[in-house]
Amino acid sequence: MRKHTPVWAGLAGLTLALTSCGSDDPMGGGGDDDAGQDGALVVGSQQYYSNTVVAELYAQVLEEAGYEVERDYDIGQREAYMPDLEAGEIDVFPEYTGNLLQYLDEDAEDTGEQEVLEALGETLPEGLTALTPAEAADQDSYTVTPEFAEEHGLESIGDLAEVEEDLTIVANAEFEERPYGPGGASEVYGATVNLMNVEDSGGQLTLNSLLDGDAQLANIYTADPAIEEHDLVVLEDPEEMILPQNMFPLVSSAVDEEAQAALEEVSAALTQEELIALNTSSVDEQASAEDVAETWLVQHELIEPDGSGQEG
């Protein structure tokens, strides 16, 4: 028996270690416990380069306005960071109107830009505020190659109904369940589209399957530099079927009016072209979020060069 004791002790220790990492939500990520102290504003971001660049824009304008800022980037999915936001451990987060609404209210059916905003205002948990969104949006799309668009005279999603051949769209798994997925295309536009799941969220594998002709359509997010690079055609959505995903700062009550004003200046300058340009410099030049954000903010006169302090 004595010989076995260390094994059991080890197992017990392991079990303890495993269970003590657990939280109520099996999928929840551990937040940074040091965050949110000392009156600093904590800026978070999703694990998505484009989101992190915008978070860095927020962080740098806040610093310029004289706030102390802590960065807590690359936190993964909403169920990992939303509890931290609600608990006030994160104060500023770049969000997308449509997806956040869908997360907060699965049954939300609004799709117009304004309706989504209003619905969002009503469903946000107490203590959290959605500041004015930017024009820039990063949303799902029905995108085709320029050759395919020309061959079939495609401009809007509705034109797909006229195409004779079988159509396949390559997208993440969740596209199936979205109101603007294949079901929506059929209902709203009368177009029959099959779905092929490639799970890299509109990344290189998705892009390749469109360019190689494995699929005729792809769900490429509209702020992706690849659209310009390959002259891809994003089919228009006159019926507003696709959920708008305008970017906005989601803030906690620790963000006072002056800080909110600084953040809204960023949103005001962030047009669709500007967001794509930001993404292009992070992708093509492999520049760090910090450098990309600083260059952009200086260009738009939102911060002084070299970070020399400027109050207000």
């Binding site: 099996p26 999928m27 169920e79 997360y103 390559v170 993440n172 798994a173 969740e174 199936e176 369940e177 092929m196 799941n197 490639v198 799970e199 890299d200 290189q204 594998l205 390749n208 399957s209 190689d212 494995d214």
Partner: protein
């Protein structure tokens, strides 16, 4: 616990299993991919492992390369191959074969090596040819270890075949990714439970084969 109960309720509903994208079809795809990947891996690794075990040469190379290959992250391999060959079944097959070959190779050369050298010498003294020694002595006596290698490979592949769905090839990864992306945790868990069930069933089957082989090798005595 709640998610687990809901996953169970999902699994005992008939419509979960039917249809072209139902759990039944997905499980069948998953099983096919596993069999295909392990089959191809065995075609590569069995002859190579036997050669190493029989001649006793190239052992260091085999040990080193299988160790190095095992350290490759499968998702990385999958994405890399996928970028070259495009989406579909090819990329996950390559990734799964790279995953399965080291286990089978290691089991095979260990199996062939595990035979007592005196037995091999005795066989040679009886005038047996190299082929006879290999097929009549080393393979039968090493069979439990060889099957053990394949058994290990099957377990690794059946779990990792989830990644086939990453590049549009389906399998049980499809409901798993759908559940993950739509916050539908019962669906995610249900897909995982089916994979676990598959893995346990396959392991029991191979365990039985392995025990039978061991009993046969011990002889009727």
């Amino acid at each position: 616990m709640n998610h687990l109960l809901e996953a169970w309720e999902l699994l005992i509903q008939a419509d979960t299993w039917t249809g072209p994208t139902g759990m039944g079809a997905r499980a069948w795809e998953h099983l096919l991919y596993t069999v295909l990947a392990v089959g191809v891996s065995a075609l590569i690794a069995l002859p190579a492992g036997l050669a190493v075990g029989h001649f006793g040469r190239g052992r260091n190379l085999a040990v080193l390369s299988t160790g190095a290959v095992r350290a490759l992250p499968t998702l990385g391999v999958l994405t890399l191959v996928g970028l070259v060959v495009g989406v579909g079944l090819m990329a996950p097959m390559v990734a799964l074969i790279i995953l399965a070959v080291p286990s089978i190779l290691a089991g095979t050369y260990s199996g062939a090596e595990s035979v007592d050298p005196r037995v091999v010498d005795a066989a040679r003294a009886q005038g047996m040819s190299r082929w006879q020694i290999l097929f009549a002595v080393q393979i039968p006596l090493g069979l439990p270890l060889i099957i053990g290698g394949i058994r290990l490979a099957v377990l690794q592949v059946v779990g990792t075949a989830m990644l086939a769905a990453y590049v549009g090839a389906g399998g049980l990864g499809a409901p798993l990714f759908l559940g993950l992306r739509t916050y539908d945790y019962p669906l995610l868990l249900a897909a995982s439970l089916v994979v676990i069930a598959l893995a346990v069933l396959l392991d029991i089957a191979f365990g039985t084969v392995q025990r039978t082989a061991r009993r046969l090798m011990r002889g009727p005595a």
